[in-house]
Structure formats: C-alpha cells, structure tokens
C-alpha cells in the first residue's frame, strides 16, 4: 500500500513541477480560466482511464473505448434531433446504457466465449466505429451542431459547481466510488487477485468470468458517460468523435502506475496519469516547445513511466533478496 501511495505521490510531484515551471513562464497558466480549462480537458480522459484501470487490473484491456465514446456522443446528438427539449438526465442515462451494452458485448466475448480481450476489443473498435458511421449515413445526419441541442445540456457541459467544472465533479464522484469499491469491497479486492494470477484466483473460488464481465460493463458504461459529457462540452458531434482516444487512455493508465499485466495499481493513479498527460500537453506550447513535439508526449511519458517502474521493481526485488538471505543466515 505504501508503494502505491509512493507512486501517486510521484505523479503529483511531477505535476507540481510542470505547473510551477509553466506558471513561471506564463502566469496565465495558473489563472482561474487556465486551471478551469485544464480540469475540463482532462475530465473525460480521466473518466475513461478509471474504467480502463479497473480492466487492466484484471489483466484485460479495452481498446474499444474511443469507439464507444463516439457512439454514445452520437446518440446524444440524435436524441436532441428527435426532441430538442430532452431532459439532460435522460440523455445521460441513455448514453450510459448504450455504453454498458457495448461493455456487455465485449465482456460476453471475453468472459463467456473466452476470447482474448486484446483481440475482441480490437475487433469491436472497428465494429462500434463502423456502426457509428453507418448510423450517420443511414439517417443522413453527419453532424449535430450546438444550436440543435438544448441550452440546458450545453450549460451542463460548460457549467461549474462552485469553482470546479461540472464534468470534473462527475469524474471525481466516479473516481471516489471506484476507489472506495476497489479498496473496501470483497469483489473489488478480488479483481486484483484475478489480475495477479487468474488460475490461482479461479482455484480459490473467485468467480473470475463474472468479475471480468462486470469490469467490462463498467468500462463500457463509463465510456458511454464520457460520450455524453463530450457532446455537452463540445456541442458539435459527428461520427468520428473519439477516434484514436484508446491509446491516450491506455497511456494515462500505465503512466498512472497500473501494471499492464494486471494485479496492481489504483484508479486514483490512473486519473492522476490522465491529468498529468493533459497538463503536459497544455504546458508545452506555453513553454515554447514546438507543437510537433506534443504528439510524442503520450508515448514518451508511457515509456518513461514503465521504465522507471521496472527500475524501482528491480531495486525492491534486490532489497528483498538481500533481506531474505540475511534472515536465512540469522535463522
């Protein structure tokens, strides 16, 4: 547990360093509007990272999140075309439900039909995106603009509660629930056991298939929620929303200290990873780094994070070995 806290502390320190340096260069970065934008930009990606982290902890992965987000964003647009006065909560629930259905498809294929997650979600990445485009062509609706959506919906996406953007509040709520559930509830702890060693988990009586299935549904539902939030924030929807997002999400999760082979990491770390990557991306142009370097950031940060993890792990392992051998000599 202390090691995990150390990891999150590390991200926070890097985050503080980045923000400090950038603010020295341009004080505007830490202005009210600047912080507001920073939280807004990282909220949706952090939300997806929470869902992804839950899956990665079980030694699975969901590459279809970008497509699910696009599908549910498009659904929001379609709902408003059908009825401009649709209540916000209905759209939110519809988006979450659609995302959950996508999660059911992924989860069923992985947990029931026993197809590897990497392959299934690579396949559904194509399928969900294709359905999104097909829906657009079938209805002839290629883009839904802000003026077709209800003002309530747009106000919700761009509004704030006290000083935090609404989107950030939602992400924090989800994050809080997920973090508590993973730590305090038995099924939550079991996810870690599954990720550490699926066979051992099965032998010890954990319903591995059911847990993984639920993890996929949660990840899907969060991606669905992310889609609706995207629609309310950006106010313009087409069928390509969210393309390629999956890599940024996986990068955030890994940078946040969730081991890609499962069994360790926290959702808080994943969300912090998302915040860090977004902050670095926003800070680079202010620091005068040419725009083109920005595209390399996610990849470089991911590589740096896993390399550091590896070094720390080797150190810890060496220390443990030394302690065991000393203990052996003493006993």
């Amino acid at each position: 547990m202390r090691a995990l806290a150390g990891r999150e502390l590390g991200i926070v320190l890097v985050l503080v360093a980045v923000v400090t340096v950038t603010t020295v260069v341009n004080p505007n970065f830490l202005s009210r509007q600047g912080v507001h934008d920073l939280f807004l930009n990282s909220s949706i990606i952090a939300l997806l990272a929470v869902g992804q982290a839950i899956l990665v902890i079980t030694r699975n992965i969901d590459l279809s999140v970008g497509s699910v987000l696009g599908l549910s964003a498009f659904l929001s647009g379609q709902l408003y075309l059908a009825d401009r006065d649709m209540p916000v909560i209905v759209v939110l629930l519809a988006g979450i439900a659609l995302g959950a259905v996508c999660g059911v498809v992924n989860g069923a294929l992985v947990a029931v039909a026993k197809v590897p997650a990497l392959v299934v979600t690579l396949g559904t990445l194509y399928v969900f995106r294709g359905l999104d485009y097909a829906w657009a062509s079938a209805t002839g609706v290629h883009q839904v603009n802000a003026d077709r959506m209800s003002p309530d919906f747009l106000a919700f996406g761009n509004g704030s509660l006290l000083f935090l953007p609404n989107l950030t509040v939602i992400t924090l709520l989800v994050l809080g629930v997920a973090a508590y559930a993973l730590r305090a509830f038995r099924p939550g702890r079991e996810l870690y056991a599954i990720g550490s060693n699926p066979d051992a988990a099965r032998l010890s009586g954990i319903p591995v298939g059911r847990r993984v299935f639920v993890a996929f549904v949660i990840s899907g539902a969060l991606a669905g929620l992310g889609g609706v939030l995207h629609a309310s924030y950006f106010g313009t929807i087409n069928a390509s929303v969210g393309s390629g997002r999956e890599l940024a999400v996986v990068a955030a999760v890994v940078v946040g200290g969730v081991a890609i082979f499962g069994g360790s990491g926290t959702v808080v770390g994943a969300a912090l990873g998302a915040l860090l990557l977004t902050t670095i991306t926003s800070a680079l142009p202010i620091l005068g780094v040419p725009a083109f370097w920005q595209r390399a950031v996610d990849g470089a940060a991911l590589l740096l994070a896993i390399s550091l993890d590896r070094v720390v792990m080797l150190r810890v392992a060496a220390r443990l070995r030394r302690r065991t051998s000393v203990g052996g000599a003493g006993g």
Partner: protein
Amino acid sequence: MIRSSRVRAAALILPLAVVLAAGCGGTTKDSAPQAGNSGSGNSSADPNAPMKQGLKIAFLPKEIDNPYMVIMDKGGTDAVKEVGGEGKDVGPSDASASSQVSYINTLIQQKQDAIVISANDPNAVAPALKDAMSKGIKVVTVDSDAAKDARQVFINQASSEEIGRSQVRIIAKQIGNEGKIAILSATPNATNQNAWIEFMKDELKKPEFAKIELVKTAYGDDDDQKSFQETQALLSAYPDLKGIISPTTVGISAAARYLSSSPSKGKVMLTGLGTPNQMRSFVKDGTVTEFALWDPGQLGYLAGYAAAALASGQISGAEGETLKCGKLGERKIGKDGEIILGPPTAFNAANIDQFDF
C-alpha cells in the same frame, strides 16, 4: 544462435553499405527527372455538342461526413440529374489522401465518365488522377485543387486573392486596425488554405495595417475538438490577442464555441469562413460580428455541370472557353483551367436568417 544472428546482421548491413557507397552522386532533388506530360490539352472542344445522356459522374469529397462537403456534393449530384446523368458520391471517412487514391482506382474500374474530387493532398492523388485521365475519364477538382496536370478543370470558390485579402479587411475593421491576430487554419497542406493565408500575409504588409501583428498560424486539422483546443491554446499563449481569422468552416465554429463560453467573448474578434447554420447562434449571442462564405451547394452544382460538359466534349478545359451551367448562367474558363464561382457572401446579424445551409 549467436553465429546465425551475427551472420544475418552482416548479410543485412553489407548490401546496405554497398548501396550507400554507390549512392553518392545519384538522383537528387535537383537532378530528378520530372514528368512533363500534361494530361489536358489538345482535345478540341465543340461548344455546341449535345449533352450526353446517362453520364456516370462520381463525386469524391475530402471526407464523406464533412457537412460542407455533403452540401457541395448534393449540389453536384443535383446538377448531374438535371443534365440526364447519374451522379453518386463516395469517399473516405477520414480526410486522408491514401484512401482517396483507393477510391479513384475503384472509380476507374467502374468506368465512370467523370470524377469530381476535392483533393486531400494535391500530389498524392495526382498519379491516380492522371491514370484516370489516360483512360479517358474527365477529372474536375473542386474546392481544393490537385496538381494542375492531373485534372482538366478546377472549380474555385472565389479568387484566392479576393478571399484572403477580404478576410484581413474584415478583421482589421473589427479590431480597429491595431493589435495581435492569429489564424486558425485546417491542415497545413490544404492547398486552398495556404493560398489564402499567403494573400492574408501580403495584405497585412500594406501601410494601413502596419499596427496589426500576425502572431501565429495554428492548425486544427479540420477536426472539431482539435480546433477547439487550439483556440484555447492561442488565448492562453497570447492573452492580449485581439482577433482570430479561421478560414475553415470546422475551425470557425469550434473557435466560436470556445469564445462564446469564455471571458474573452466579445473581446476577441472572430471572423472567417463558416456556414450560416453552424454560426447562427454565435452571431446572435454576439460572439461573432461578421463572417463570409459562398454557397457550397452552388459550388458543387457548377462542378457537376463542368464534369458533364467535359464528358460531352462541350469544353476541354482550355482558357477562354465558356461553360454553360444551368441556373448559374455561364462562366468563362480562366488560366490553368480555373473556373470561379463568384465573390463570397458576408453574413451578419442583419441577413443571416435569410440563409439555410
């Protein structure tokens, strides 16, 4: 294992080294033989030839879901229907040149009579378009041109010069001829965007605009979200920014959306090229005072007529020929096979409700 992998590595590197050594003094950029065959040209045109019936004309937009392109291709297929032909629009869902090439090859196999394309990359599509022309298929570019020898006719919205210079004049008026401005463009290789930006820069050299400073050209890649975030980045990097020109429908609506909910609303001026439907709410809430655009439907309509006339032998694409284009009347073909639709319309609070596209 060690042995074999070393041998393998040597086997891989040795020929490379040989080629490397031999390569000194080979084909470089300056000595490269360039193909000089121009596709269009000597086929004579008969302005009075009858319009052929049942012409198959395909429209290949930059991307199939771009609303601007959808309106344009609708205009085009309507024109083809008017002249008794059969029009269709096909295209990639990503704005990439390589998928357009696949489509061009398909259209060649389908033996279309003419292709109307908005090029994503003028050079990448050129070889495939030349291939089409060599098989007797007429090629019209619209909105965004391809290499000049890879098409017969280019339908231009308005003269690039007129568009570029007028955008600067609009923003200058709005910011009172003084202060920092930025440009939010589409992709950095979009032919039309770059031509306009050149003219904008030239216009800014005039003495009356001496106090206006162009601080940055940002690229939103015609992606809504990217354009939105580029606007955000512009405002945070240049807090004293006075105005933004966004000569792309995707860019201007994303920029307007960011501005409308930020403290800079009404302080940072925004103009550019946008569709009235996308911009209506921002004009009404005061984020945007005035912007411009031509009717993309008319642009496509003109391209449809040009393609049909080419395929019927009424025109060949030579300078000075006259194109009869239905409800739009007539247009003269200019230098390099360019046909111009006409000056753009300026939209503001007074007239925006008269337009629906």
